[in-house]
Symmetry: C2
Subunit: 231 residues, 2 copies
Amino acid sequence: MRISILGGTGDIGEGLALRWGRDTDHEIVIGSREADRAVTAATRYAGQLQARGYDPTITGDGNEAAVRGADVVVASVPPYSVADAIEQLGESIPEDAIIVTPAVGIKRDDDGVHYHRPSVGSVTRLAADAASESVSVVGAFHSVPAQRLADLDDPLDMDTIVIGDDTDARTTILGLANEIEGLTALNGGPIANAPEVESLTALLINLGRYNESLHEAGIRVVSPDRPAYDS
Amino acid sequence: MRISILGGTGDIGEGLALRWGRDTDHEIVIGSREADRAVTAATRYAGQLQARGYDPTITGDGNEAAVRGADVVVASVPPYSVADAIEQLGESIPEDAIIVTPAVGIKRDDDGVHYHRPSVGSVTRLAADAASESVSVVGAFHSVPAQRLADLDDPLDMDTIVIGDDTDARTTILGLANEIEGLTALNGGPIANAPEVESLTALLINLGRYNESLHEAGIRVVSPDRPAYDS
């Protein structure tokens, strides 16, 4: 699979490139507005993995070139740039590609951070509205701390919830997320269910502030069939 | 401590009565609009615990009598009755009591259930606005499945997030929640942070629908200092 990571020079894009580079055979293309920056980042990620004995395929290019031929495009850009980025790349993104958005809107006040819900319902919906009809949009990775994802020594041991209206596309991204060691992908259903998923980021930031041992926290969903602890 | 559980004849109130009855020495008073129903429920809970070898103090009474002398009043009533229930009992609730609300607003459509956020910001805020100024309102237990709480054989092994504007009151309820075996109480900060906490209920219901092994799920917040698995 060819995975383009837009905004792959920082934040969650870096962690996804490193993890997929290590845990899978997928071809990773880092995209950036400036091709040079993307190439530099790709070289750095590949070098980091080679030093650990892996042989990943990670290249870099300008955004438009990076999405060409992509099966999956991860739009790792700030929440209110997601729609613009998708619209601008509209014609370059292949017709049957899947766009993945990890973006959430957040506002901050004295008490904590709060989910800033766009009027269309969610950031995932914003992204879906901006994409052409043939392209599926899926939300994922919202509650995975970027710093921990980029630290290959971190075992993660957490969940990510995947939402999308197209069942096949959602299943593909569930699979792709599950390929990352230590990450378990859960099916969140259609994009109508996105607000509660996107809200998790603010919740986790607040828990990090008010509880000493919960910095850079993620979530794990537990049930009688799936306990928190192996016992 | 004297804990009154309004609406303690069903839903999460039953589980709280049983768990505190088993795991603590607190005095539990079940409240109901009809005193008879409260007494019947209290007798049943006490009997269930006695059959397991415990000796709890659980009695039942009409709502007004039940809250008298209470240190903590749990308003286990439907979300849009919370404010009314608190207003009606205003004069009976002791001045320095803490009101605990586990209520969340939910609406349902074809795709799933969704957090129905009240215009004041959260159900916890609704409850706080309805209470007299001397009384502290704290939100807790939103993401704990009622059925599992009421099943004393269920190990729970999950978290609950506690929110409240008064630090002392929040600390008291954090302690009270932590006294329930298998439940870990996390500090969610002030009521401004309630929407993201109340949203969890809808999220968990949706995950139960779209994932086979996640019925009656709860959450566990994991971080490097607090991994999902003991290792």
